[in-house]
């Protein structure tokens, strides 16, 4: 399939899904009668796909182990909420010439704000910390993630520890999965370009990469900024789904959740990570009945998987697909 076709596919996914599931109970389409609980799970799955695929570009493809993904998600969530909730009325007034499209335009604006703010945060964190390797980088990114959270917690303008309420519910299934498809497209396109080869060379052998003229700093920072941008988008979608965000929701544990998705799906496999993100979101809900044993079941599952398939569920599948493409 041509790459341009996949971009068209993204738009198509967005259009079809938003047409089918508008999320409004009075929608005429029969499929729109889907109950809210299921709808929420489907949207959460989409958000998790964006988070996992974007972390995968940093940890999986470029081999830089980051534990700060939730921090960038928080920047995106708060940045976008600042547009729609805090700046809502004046911005709507300014956009009033657009008529009925004004709220949607404001949402797009807030998504962009969330994504770009997170990307800037990613650049600020990435430049100094990407000199470190392995465990050291993991600890520093963990630290930065927590710093972001604590700064938000102590900023009264965005609600401090109480959080931010009354964020308009703009996020629909169409937006979420459309953007998830866009995210998957971007990552796959980057991987099959000079960037992707740079990322993989850095992961495989940094010294050899430098010796082959690959500017390792450039590629590491690029991966980090792209990853942060999409984490910010996911945060923005999340904020406009739940309508209420607190700093606690973006703690270190959220980062770990995403790391688990990436490891479970297979480091460096976009397809595997996508499947794992959906699977874990659904599993999380299915195991809700087991209540306090949920986390035990989760941990057991992980242990079994790591013993049986250390490369992750679908680790290596991308290479297998590539090999098949080359043969034909």
């Amino acid at each position: 399939m041509g790459s341009r076709n996949s971009l068209l596919l993204c738009v198509l996914v967005f259009a079809v899904v938003s047409a089918l599931f508008t999320g409004h109970p009075e929608a005429a389409w029969p499929l729109a009668q889907i109950d809210d609980y299921l709808l929420n799970i489907l949207i959460m799955a989409g958000i998790n796909v964006i988070l996992a695929v974007s972390l995968n570009i940093v940890s999986g493809h470029t081999g830089q182990f980051s534990l700060g993904h939730a921090g960038f998600m928080a920047v995106g969530a708060y940045g976008s909420a600042a547009v729609t909730q805090i700046g809502g009325k004046p911005i709507l007034n300014a956009l009033s010439f657009l008529g009925g499209a004004a709220p949607i335009c404001m949402f797009v604006l807030s998504l962009l704000a969330g994504g770009f703010l997170a990307a800037v945060a990613g650049l600020a964190v990435g430049l100094p910390s990407l000199r470190l390797k392995g465990d050291y980088l993991a600890i520093v990114t963990l630290g930065f993630g927590e710093i972001i959270r604590v700064v938000i917690q102590n900023t009264e303008a965005v609600g401090g520890a109480r959080g931010l309420t009354g964020i308009p519910a703009f996020t629909t299934l169409g937006w979420t999965w459309g953007l998830a498809a866009f995210c998957i497209y971007c990552v796959s396109a980057l991987i099959r370009s000079t960037y992707g080869r740079g990322f993989l060379a850095v992961r495989d052998d940094e010294i050899a990469a430098e010796a082959m003229g690959v500017n390792t700093t450039k590629y590491k920072v690029t991966a980090f900024v792209v990853g942060s941008f999409f984490a910010g988008l996911a945060g923005a979608l999340y904020a406009h789904l739940i309508g209420y965000i607190t700093p606690e929701g973006f703690s270190f544990l959220k980062s770990v959740d995403v790391v688990v998705m990436v490891i479970l799906g297979g480091m460096g496999s976009t397809l595997g990570v996508t499947v794992a993100a959906i699977l874990l979101t659904v599993l999380n809900e299915l195991l809700r009945q087991a209540e306090q044993y949920r986390m035990v079941a989760f941990a057991l599952l992980l242990i079994v998987l790591m013993i049986a398939r250390p490369q992750g569920l679908l680790g290596g599948i991308d290479r297998w697909l590539q090999a098949r493409r080359n043969r034909s």
């Binding site: 370009s193 052998d205 050899a208 990469a209 430098e210 090999a323």
Partner: protein, 258 residues
């Protein structure tokens, strides 16, 4: 012969240890120079300082007339110095072809939006670079293995692939760090042929660190000898074989009974 690489009183110090001490040295354009010396003499350190892995503590390194001492490794490679490694360092998860294609990066335009949009220009460049990489592999007899994972290659072929990968950066000076290490005699003969062939076909100057005297004496036009970080001799293979200090460095000095 015009010198392409010039080292002037280069010193590399690690704390109190002087690994390379005031070495003057040059490689001429298109020349094949050997660098030998006992273990720990500072050969690999000298390599690392030329390729930017370490920075020289003192002294100057000029490549093509311009100072390169202290630049980053990727900067130095982009100016035309490429290397292979003593212990093979291929990009292990990539295919044979992608190893070579990755080394072309430096000569490619890489617009971020271009990579996302994948327009005609981008696809044209991708096609051209894959083609060029395949041709390069073909020249070195690795084309049939192009889509295999590079780890599946035989040891000698992995060494060969490292040379191909280094050539993909289009170097004017190629540094080979013990290319014959771990090879059997047949592979060594093959390697000598390969190095000569590389020079004839692509024309870079070659600086070779090697322990195997047959290989070094067999192909080098000029040889420099290091011991304890100092250059103790330099000359043609014939001269080096006769040099008393070199023999002493390798075999020890004669003990004269009192």
């Amino acid at each position: 012969m015009k010198p392409i690489l010039e080292l002037e009183k280069v010193v590399v110090r690690f704390g109190g240890l002087v690994a390379v001490s005031a070495v003057d040295f040059h490689v001429g354009e298109g020349e094949l120079v050997g660098l030998i010396g006992p273990n720990g003499a500072g050969k690999t350190t000298l390599f690392n300082v030329i390729t930017g892995v370490y920075k020289p503590t003192e002294g100057g390194i000029r490549f093509d007339g311009q100072t390169v001492g202290g630049l980053s490794a990727s900067d130095i490679t982009s100016r035309g110095i490429a290397r292979t490694f003593q212990n093979i360092r291929l990009f292990s998860s990539l295919s044979v072809l992608d190893n070579v294609v990755a080394a072309f990066n430096l000569h490619l335009k890489s617009g971020f939006l271009g990579a996302l949009w994948r327009g005609k220009q981008f696809r044209e460049q991708e096609r051209a670079v894959h083609e060029e990489a395949l041709q390069l592999l073909d020249v070195f007899g690795l084309k049939s293995a192009a889509h295999q994972p590079c780890r599946s290659l035989a040891y000698g072929d992995q060494r060969r692939l490292e040379i191909v990968r280094a050539l993909a950066t289009k170097p004017r000076l190629l540094l080979l760090d013990e290319p014959a290490a771990g090879m059997n005699p047949t592979e060594k003969v093959e390697l000598m042929r390969l190095i000569r062939f590389t020079q004839e076909r692509f024309g870079p100057a070659v600086l070779l660190v090697e322990h195997d005297m047959k290989v070094v004496m067999g192909i080098c036009q000029r040889i420099a000898v290091l011991e304890y970080g100092r250059k103790i001799a330099e000359g043609t293979p014939g001269e080096i074989q006769q040099d008393r200090r070199v023999i002493a460095a390798y075999l020890g000095e004669e003990v004269v009974d009192a």
